[in-house]
Each structure stands twice: as C-alpha cells, then as structure tokens.
C-alpha cells in the first residue's frame, strides 16, 4: 500500500522562528497517525502544512515537499483550495458556524461551493451525520442552531461538516482538548471507525489518547521528528531516549 503522504525535508517558519526542522515521514493510508510532543514542538504546524493551512497565517512560510497521493501539494499550479477539499480539518475548539442550523453547518462546504440540489444535500447531510455518530442525537433538531448543541456534539458536528465534502484525509488538531471524558471517548471511538475509510492524522497533547486511537505515533520535540513508528512499539519499547523520557513523564 502506498503511503498517503510523503513528507520530504519539510521546514516551516513563522517570521524568523524556525518551527519545523527537516521533517521526513510517510503517513499510511486508512490508518490513524498521532503526533505527540510537548507544547510548542510544532505538532499543530506540522498538520497545518499538510493541507496548506499554515500559509494563511501572515509571515508563515515553508520549504520542502509534501507529497499527497504522490503529488507535491506545494508544487506549481496546485490550488490550495482544491487541496483543502481533499484534506479536511477539525480544530481544537469546536467551531460550528453559529449563525447556521445543524443542517446548514453540515451542508456548508457543499453549499458554499455551489451545490444547491436539495435532495442531494439532504442525503449528504444525513450520511455525514450518521458517519459522525451524531444523526440519532440531532435528527429531530436539524433546524436548531449548531451552537445550541453540547461541546461534544458540536465537535462531532464539525467532523460531519468536514466529512460532507468527501475528503480523503481528516486532520484533527487536538479535537478533544475542550471536551469532557465521555465526549472524548465518543470522539475516539468515532476516529477508530473513520480509520476504516479515511486517513486520519491527529495532534494530541494527551499521550494516552495517542496510545488509544492511533496505529502510528510520531514524537516531535523542538521542531524535530525524534521518533516515528507503530504506536505499540513507541509506547512499549521506544528506541529513542527522549521519547522514553517524554512518555514516562520525565519532561514535557
């Protein structure tokens, strides 16, 4: 199986601050890859480089290659907008559009890209909400505001919204850090389910969460990729001393 992403010599900066240093890694298709590391190690920047969200911050730039399905997304003539439709993103804080209903939130990606066929939209909304394990909870409240849902439901709504545009990859930036343990468990179960058909890359500052949901784990420290491998191996038998010390709580 070919990897979904091949990251080659990726460097990223905010202004003069060098936040990612020579990252080389391959991300497997239809698997969950977790990125862990202490605060400020570049985890979030790394996944924002995967769908070209890094560059929307003023002063941000990168060098190197990110091959997505063997094509460099930073190559000439690549439209970042198209890349972002293929590679969806879920953020740290649930951010449903507050002025839209549950239905419109899920349909937003399609509607804003010009798809108006009601029947088609209905179907996509339903399928996306079912996929996000949210349909049963909101099927009678589709016209309620997205902001009226609970935090965990809002986050699943955001996942449904991202799924509605039929991406191949879902990037998740600490998706549970604002949620309680029950809501977190639901999202984690959902991530496992999604991994059957999607490539998921999740950033988390909670290493237990990385252990639970991921198939592969990458440990980042001060912008460098220290260790990367199957989650079981990273957590039971890390090769690098820094990883061992971070996992056992000696620093971080």
């Amino acid at each position: 199986m070919a990897p979904k992403f091949e990251i080659e010599d990726l460097n990223a900066w905010f202004g003069s601050k060098h936040v990612l240093k020579n990252i080389n890694m391959k991300i497997e298709e239809n698997a969950v890859t977790a990125i862990i590391g202490p605060s400020g190690c570049g985890k979030t920047t790394l996944i924002r480089c995967l769908n070209r969200m890094h560059e929307i911050t003023p002063g941000a730039r990168i060098s190197g290659k990110v091959l997505f399905n063997r094509v460099n997304i930073y190559g000439n003539g690549i439209d970042p907008v198209m890349i972002r439709r293929k590679i969806g993103m879920v953020f740290q804080k649930p951010n449903p559009f507050p002025m839209m209903s549950v239905y419109d939130n899920v349909a937003a990606g399609l509607k804003l890209n010009g798809i108006r066929d009601k029947k088609n939209l209905d179907e996509v909304v339903r399928r996306s909400l079912e996929l996000a394990n949210l349909w049963d909870e909101v099927k009678d409240d589709l016209n309620k505001s997205g902001a009226s849902l609970s935090g965990g439901q809002q986050q699943r709504l955001c996942i449904a919204r991202a799924l509605a545009v039929e991406p191949e990859v879902l990037l998740m930036d600490e998706p549970c850090s604002a949620l309680d343990p029950i809501a977190t468990a639901k999202i984690e179960a959902l991530i496992r389910k999604l991994a059957e058909n999607y490539t998921v890359v999740i950033v988390t500052h909670n290493m237990q969460q990385a252990a639970r949901v991921s198939d592969y784990t990458a440990f980042l420290y001060l912008g460098e990729l220290i260790e990367y491998g199957p989650t079981k191996q990273i957590f039971e038998n890390p090769k690098h001393e820094l990883t061992e010390r971070y996992l056992t709580g000696e620093f971080g």
Binding site: N51, M53, I56, P58, V81, M82, I83, R84, R85, K86, G88, M89, F91, K93, N95, P96, F97, P98, M99, S101, A108, G109, L112, N113, K144, S145, A147, S148, C158, R161, A162, V165
Partner: protein, 279 residues
C-alpha cells in the same frame, strides 16, 4: 468590632456606587427625553392628513405639508446610501482582511481624518466639484452625504469583521472555500448585525445633516423633479421654516422635526426587525 465597621463601610460604598450609576443614567436620558417631549408636544399639532399629502405651501398660504420634503429626503438618502454604503463596506472589508497591508495603514489614517472633517467643509467640496458644473442638485447633495457616510461605514465594518473569530474563517477555509467567498458569506454573515448597525448609524447621521445639504441642494419647495435638480428636504425645512416670521410655517418646522425623528426611529426599528437573529 472593627470587622463590622469595615463591612458597613463596604455596604455604604456599594450604595454610593449604585447611586452614581443611576444618576449618570438619568443625566444621560434627560436631554434625550426632553428633546423628544418638546418635539412631540409642539410638532404633534402640525400633524394631520394634509401635512402628509401636501407639498410646501407658498408664502401666506394656509395648510400645506411636508410630503415633498419626505419624498426628497428619502430619495437623497437612498442615493447617498447607494454610493456611500458599498464604498464603505468594501473599504471596511479590505481593512479587516488585509489588516497588515501597507495600503491599509494609509487608508485607515485618511479614513480617520475624513471622519473628523466638519460636514460643511465636505459640503463646500461637493459644491466646488459638482454644483459648479451641474448646479444645485440631488446628485451633489447625495455625493456630499455619501462622503460623510463612508468613514462611518468603513470603521464600523472593519471593527465588526475583526470581531469574527479566526476559528470561523479557518473552518470555512479548511472546507475548501475560497477566501473571498469565506469573507462574503461566513465572515459577513457572522458580523451581519454589527455591519448593518453601522450602516444604520451612517444613515441616521446623514438624515439630519443640514449644512452640506444647504450648500449643495439649495432650496426647493416643489415635488422631486430630477436627480440633477434640487429636491425638498426635511432638515432644510426645519432650518428655513423655523426662521420664517409666519406662525403656520413655524408649526411646519416642528412637524418636520418630528417626522425627521420618526424617520430615524423607523429606520432603526426596521433594521432591528430585519436583522433579528434567527436563533
């Protein structure tokens, strides 16, 4: 014992603070209500059916109304808004979306300067630019009023858009929505209420402007004829009638003032209703 004293002192402080707050509130409301009271009390006697259907009376003529002035004011305001709101809105969007852009710094500075220029100066500018070529006209007045509107709309739009959380823009951008569409839909929709309020403020502001209208429109006591001719105006009515020696005209001035206030109030209420949050 000491503790109790301290507690009492705190209670007293609390009362004093409360009192001052309510006092300020009353002080702020007194002028508003006294103006309203005065205008309604004196203007209400002018109000009758004729007042709303007849145009300006000729000298000595009994009765007469402000129908033509309402018509003229609405047309002038509409035309001014047509110029001022789009320009202000777009500048506001530019300032908020390209906040760091060099041009933004320049625009922001001159926008601030513009909002501080006395309206009569703007009126004179419009006079020099337009009245001297096509004469006193609705176009000239609307142009002057639009210049007054632009900095207000720009500033309020910029502030409103900047309040929209970054997370919402990112959510839209991450869905593969192009940037311009993100701004035009998600960002503007989120800030809709504040943006419309800014427009409303600017409309309310120009509704009562009389100085620039005086130097660009001139006096007209007939029905609206054409955009390149003058039109009647409520604010000018107040100005002209109030200084006239005729008792019946002075009543008309109060009536015009009342209509002007009701107009502003009406615009306010209408926009409130239109922008009422669905959720």
């Amino acid at each position: 014992m000491k503790k109790l004293d301290y507690y009492r002192f705190r209670i007293i402080k609390d009362y004093v603070a409360h009192f001052l707050v309510y006092l300020s509130l009353v002080a702020a409301l007194i002028p508003l209500f006294s103006i309203l009271y005065e205008v309604v009390q004196r203007g209400i006697s002018a109000i009758n059916l004729n007042f709303f259907i007849n145009p300006t009376p000729t000298v000595g003529e009994k009765g007469g109304g402000v129908a033509n002035a309402i018509q003229g004011t609405l047309i002038t305001m509409g035309f001014a808004s047509l110029i001022g709101i789009p320009v202000g809105l777009m500048s506001g969007i530019f300032l908020s979306e390209y906040s760091e852009h060099k041009l933004s710094m320049v625009i922001r500075f001159f926008n601030d300067v513009l909002s501080g220029i006395p309206s009569i100066v703007i009126g004179v500018f419009a006079y020099a630019l337009i009245v001297r070529s096509i004469g006193f006209s609705v176009i000239a007045a609307a142009f002057a009023l639009a210049i007054i509107m632009v900095p207000i709309v720009t500033r309020t739009t910029e502030e409103a858009l900047k309040l929209v959380p970054l997370s919402l823009r990112e959510a839209a951008i991450a869905l593969g929505v192009p940037r311009w569409k993100t701004v035009a839909t998600i960002v503007l929709r989120s800030a809709k209420k504040a943006v419309v309020t800014g427009m409303l403020l600017s409309i309310a502001r120009i509704a009562g402007e009389s100085a620039p209208v005086l130097v660009t429109m001139g006096y007209w006591r007939w029905w609206f004829a054409s955009l390149n001719r003058p039109a009647a105006n409520l604010a000018l009515n107040v100005f002209v009638f109030a200084m006239s020696p005729f008792e019946s005209w002075i009543v008309l001035a109060w009536g015009s003032a009342l209509v002007l206030i009701l107009l502003v109030l009406g615009v306010n209420i209408a926009v409130r209703v239109l922008t009422k949050e669905r959720y």
